[in-house]
């Protein structure tokens, strides 16, 4: 009979031990919100499952000198319930509260979203905008730190080997000038509980004294196989004063970029409308007090 072996490491040492025998039938399990569906779709009926969720210490949100560190087991619910994240990394909190439903938010975690590497993964544009990295451990107990940008190779493809697991996500600490926001518009006509049709993460360094956007970072999700920086929009916003007049111009630039990426794919033409709406939503959200 087919069967699974289910491993439940509680320490990193045990995780490393579990990874030692990893092969193509070894699966790492986070919240399971993608994995269980994959299991059914691919009719997986045997192998080894390594359950990450019992590993001690990986469910914490910590901060050191330069970085915010999110343990691999931090759920979306934890992210948006964390006052610091809500206040200073708004894009991450806003993203987390838009993932699926409450039930999903209570179970699902960031590493799963990265490794699943869906075009529509909500955390991906946010993590790219944050310039986040993942700390990866392998079966020899070695760790390395790699930018999320470099982990995802394409839809459903990452550089991770079978004997590697993400144990932490980290990104540079926000400054007092950092402001950010995330928005998504889903497939179909529903407003809530949707799979992203287009998403947009925006992070700015805004100097309130000079009233100048010193730096802007915009990442568009769900349009191309992998989320991408909207480079022209980033250049456009640099050194600008935030104002309502900027928004239509910013929206035009983003629309043009999305249009270029879509290369005339008519079935996706509503993404061009949607990115315009998102440009307004996200910009207004960040600068509501100064425009």
């Amino acid at each position: 009979m087919d069967k699974f072996t289910y491993k439940t490491p509680v320490t990193l040492e045990e995780l490393v031990e579990s990874l030692k025998s990893a092969n193509e039938n070894t699966y790492i399990l986070g919240g399971g919100t993608d994995f269980v569906i994959q299991m059914r779709k691919k009719r997986l009926s045997q192998g080894v499952i390594i359950d990450m969720t019992g590993i001690r210490g990986l469910n914490e949100i910590n901060m050191d000198e330069d970085h915010i560190r999110l343990g691999a087991n931090v759920t979306y619910s934890q992210l948006y319930n964390n006052p610091f994240i809500r206040a200073h990394v708004a894009c991450l909190a806003q993203m987390a509260i838009k993932v699926g439903s409450k039930q999903i938010q209570n179970m699902a975690r960031l590493p799963g979203n990265i490794v699943n590497a869906s075009k529509a993964g909500d955390s991906i544009p946010v993590l790219l905008a944050l310039d986040a990295s993942a700390k990866i451990i392998n079966s020899k107990g070695e760790t390395k730190q790699i930018k999320v940008q470099d982990i995802i190779l394409g839809m459903g493809k990452t550089i991770l080997n079978r004997d590697e697991a993400i144990i932490e996500i980290l990104f540079p600490k926000p400054t007092i000038n950092t402001r950010s926001s995330f928005g998504k518009i889903g497939h179909g006509a529903r407003n809530e509980l949707t799979i992203a049709n287009v998403s947009l993460a925006m992070i700015t360094e805004y100097n309130q004294i000079n009233n100048i956007i010193e730096k802007a970072c915009l990442v568009v999700g769900a349009v191309a196989p992998v989320a991408f920086h909207a480079a022209q929009a980033e250049v456009f916003l640099q050194s600008k004063r935030p104002s309502r007049l900027l928004i239509p111009q910013l929206a035009d630039i983003l629309q043009k970029q999305v249009e270029t990426v879509l290369k005339g794919n008519v079935s996706s033409k509503h993404k061009i409308n949607d990115i315009r709406g998102l440009a307004f939503d996200v910009f207004e959200n960040i600068f509501t007090d100064v425009i």
């Binding site: 006509a189 407003n191 509503h270 409308n273 709406g277």
Partner: protein, 756 residues
């Protein structure tokens, strides 16, 4: 009816509420029979073609596989699952497994195995080679005489005209004539429980079918026809049903499971997953309607001409019946004495259509009610004012000679709605500039109460008060989750003056339930079956009084029945329970405290509703938010207020889907591109507006305690009300449902172009 009602009108939870919320209830999918096998269907991956070659050897070789069936080793008998009673003419074009596939999802084979997993694995090992045939997806192309025939007699299989007066002449006299062409989508019922069924066969070849169905006797009939087995050898037991909405009306899996079990002489379970449920059961019928309405200067409708093109999908099923049903509604809502309705039905290589909540009413009303708003707009009249001028009045006659409308209270609905919704204020509010546009819309709807005037409509019931003073009501009731059983229990409780908890309704089973002509269909249950429950209860009540008088030795007029006890009003001290009376009656008079009777539906009045909605449209992305929703319904009398409210809220949820988000889509080759809930978007909780419900309870003369239908009627006005609201918000004319973001953006863009 003046006396105080004890049970009617109250909210009493559905009879199996506790078992459902505690997870104890057993659905057919939970059932396990000894030695049970599992079946998996193999569905066509192309929309049109003939099987050139089918190779089942790999599937058969898989350990645990018992048998594989396809067109080569299954009955060739053609049937039409829509047929629910002997004596109605139908086109027979469906068979268990086909060699000529006509849509993406057509059944070509079934694998039976020791486990579900093995059956699924084996199903994937079946190799089929097809000769592909031309695919027709567009009903307007199918209608053309030279379109590639999907069935031997061509694609255009039905037309029908219903007419009153002289519409052609009158149309010319119009001060204004407005024409619209409106498309409504194919949609999925989305019941929580997918289709599922178990069939079991005994040593002598008697088949028992366990199924969450809407009509046990229809299942018996179709299994019997498809397998050529006498009806008496087929027993159908209805199981707890997790929603239906018309989707479980036609027996789809039952003849298959019965065949598999009958052939293998073992119990066989067949459960569909969601994708199979979407593509291989039934859908709401897609329609393309054109309507022309002529009015005079004052806004009186003087003539109307309606043409409906009905897309039945790949097989006939109820294509004819629904085409006619839609037409009948158009003569029952407004006073239009010169009107023509023409319907034509065609096959396409798309999913099979069938009954879906409203049975064509939501479609036909989408066409006519959107058009009427455009007429009002052209007249510069408030759409509410315009409708009030033209709506039917109580006891109006149907101008085509159809069943009378009864106590038709649509005008009351509209007036009440206008007031509660603050329509006048909201409708005339100046439009605000900016990204978000707000608007209001309303629409009216009409729906029937059973089959009277069209098909046999009767039910036999048996009610008995037993020795312990509880009552058993036997009848073929099909509670699909909306509270049919409790509704009947409340009616019986009220008549007998016996607590509802003392009334019991046994399982619905062809072997023991008396015959019912039509099951849960046609919005007939409360009106017809409820009417029957009331009548049989009245007969038992008369017996309680008659024997009560004898036993108590008093006048019948002095007998009091209250809360399960009977006494002589002149001697209150001697109270005997209904149970004791039943025992004495049996002993002394050799008579039981029960009655059995057949009840014929006395009529087919119309149920009405008016919905009012306020929307906000994001003009950048084309997304719509519903800000306020009011549903006002003329249902005569609510038997159970909580059920009624629940029905209306659920109906609005379905209607919003039809208006905004639900559509089964196909690629150019006819492959379904919306075969799962991540691509087929039903409106779920966060997007659901608060639905305010208001009831007009003016009592229908022919209904039990004045009641008439609501469950289907409630989803009729929703989609057109929403489209009218969007059209009002944006000053556009949307003509294709659902109003997806793209379609809204296109409408906005073409409007701006017009202006330039």
């Amino acid at each position: 009816m003046d006396q105080k009602l004890k049970y009617i009108g109250k909210y009493i939870p559905i009879h199996d509420a506790k078992e459902k919320v505690s997870g104890k209830i057993v659905y057919v999918g939970d059932m396990e029979l000894h030695g049970m096998l599992h079946a998996k269907l193999v569905l066509s991956p192309i929309a049109h073609g003939r099987i050139k070659h089918i190779n089942i050897s790999k599937a058969e070789a898989l350990p645990g596989v018992i048998a594989v069936f396809n067109y080569k080793n299954s009955p060739e008998i053609l049937y039409n699952a829509h047929k629910w009673i002997e004596g109605i003419e139908v086109i027979r074009d469906e068979r268990l497994f086909t060699s000529h596939v006509r849509f993406f999802g057509d059944r070509i084979a079934a694998v039976v195995a020791e486990s579900k997993e093995i059956a699924e694995k084996a199903a994937n090992l079946i190799e089929v080679e097809y000769e592909e045939l031309p695919v027709i997806l567009d009903p307007e192309i199918a209608k053309k005489a030279d379109s590639y025939p999907i069935h031997p007699d061509g694609n255009h299989f039905f037309s029908k005209e219903i007419k009153c007066g002289n519409p052609d002449e009158k149309m010319k006299e119009g001060f204004l004539t407005i024409e619209d062409r409106i498309e409504t989508p194919k949609t999925h019922h989305a019941a929580m429980e997918t289709h599922a069924c178990i069939a079991d066969t005994d040593q002598i070849g008697n088949i028992t079918v366990y199924t969450p169905c809407q009509v046990i006797f229809q299942v018996q009939l179709i299994v019997s026809e498809a397998l050529k087995i006498p009806r008496n050898k087929i027993r159908v037991i209805k199981t707890t049903t997790g929603g239906s909405f018309g989707g479980k009306g036609q027996p789809i899996l039952e003849p298959i499971a019965a065949f598999l079990s009958y052939t293998l002489k073992r119990p066989v379970k067949l459960v569909l997953d969601r994708t199979e449920e979407i593509i291989a059961t039934r859908t709401r019928t897609k329609t393309i309607g054109t309507v022309q309405t002529a009015v005079d200067k004052e806004g009186n409708i003087i003539a109307r001409d309606i043409h409906m093109l009905v897309d039945a999908g790949a097989y006939t099923t109820n294509g004819e019946a629904i085409a006619v049903a839609m037409g009948k509604k158009t003569f029952k809502l407004y006073r239009i004495y010169d009107q023509r309705y023409v319907a034509e039905a065609v096959y396409t290589n798309t999913l099979i259509a069938g009954a879906c909540r409203g049975y064509g009413s939501p479609q036909i009303h989408s066409v006519t009610e959107i058009n009427l708003d455009n007429v009002a707009k052209a007249l510069h009249m408030d759409p509410v004012e315009f409708r009030l001028k033209n709506l039917v009045h109580p006891y109006d006659k149907d101008p085509t000679g159809g069943p009378e409308l009864g106590n038709a209270r649509i005008i009351d609905c509209v007036k009440k709605g206008r007031e509660l919704f603050e329509w006048d204020k909201k409708y005339s509010r100046p439009k605000q500039a900016g990204r978000y546009a707000r608007g209001v819309g309303m629409a009216c709807g009409a729906h029937g109460n059973g089959y009277f005037g069209a098909y046999p409509d009767f039910i036999t019931l048996s009610l008995r008060i037993n020795e312990e003073g509880t009552a058993v009501l036997k009848g073929a009731f099909h509670d699909v989750g909306c509270g049919t059983n409790m509704t009947m229990m409340q009616i019986v409780a009220e008549v007998l003056d016996l607590d509802v908890s003392k009334i019991y309704i046994p399982a619905t089973d062809t072997l023991v339930s008396p015959f019912d002509s039509a099951g849960t269909q046609a919005s007939r249950v409360t009106f017809v079956c409820g009417g029957a429950a009331k009548k049989v209860a009245e007969q038992v009540r008369a017996k309680l009084i008659a024997y009560g008088a004898k036993v108590l030795d008093c006048m019948e007029a002095d007998v009091v029945l209250e809360d399960g006890y009977v006494w002589d009003c002149n001697s209150i001290d001697l109270k005997i329970s209904y149970g004791e009376l039943a025992v004495i009656t049996q002993k002394r008079y050799s008579e039981e405290m029960g009655a059995t009777m057949t009840y014929q539906s006395p009529g087919n009045p119309t149920s009405y509703g008016a919905h009012f909605v306020e929307v906000e449209v994001d003009t950048m992305t084309g997304r719509v938010k519903i800000l306020a929703y009011l549903a006002v319904h003329d249902l005569g009398k609510a038997i159970n207020s909580g059920f009624v409210e629940g029905q209306i809220q659920g109906a609005v949820q379905m209607g919003i889907g039809m208006a905004l988000s639900e559509e089964i889509t196909f690629d150019s080759k006819g492959k379904v591109t919306a075969g799962r809930f991540s691509r087929y978007h039903v409106i779920n909780a966060p997007d659901m507006p608060e639905v305010q419900v208001e009831l007009i309870e003016r009592l229908e003369d022919l209904g039990p305690f004045g009641a008439k239908s609501i469950g289907e009627a409630a989803t009729v006005p929703t989609a057109p009300a929403i489209i009218n609201a969007i059209n009002h918000a944006l000053d556009v004319n949307l003509t294709v449902l659902p109003a997806l973001p793209d379609r809204i953006m296109d409408a906005i863009k073409s409007k701006t172009k017009e202006r330039v």
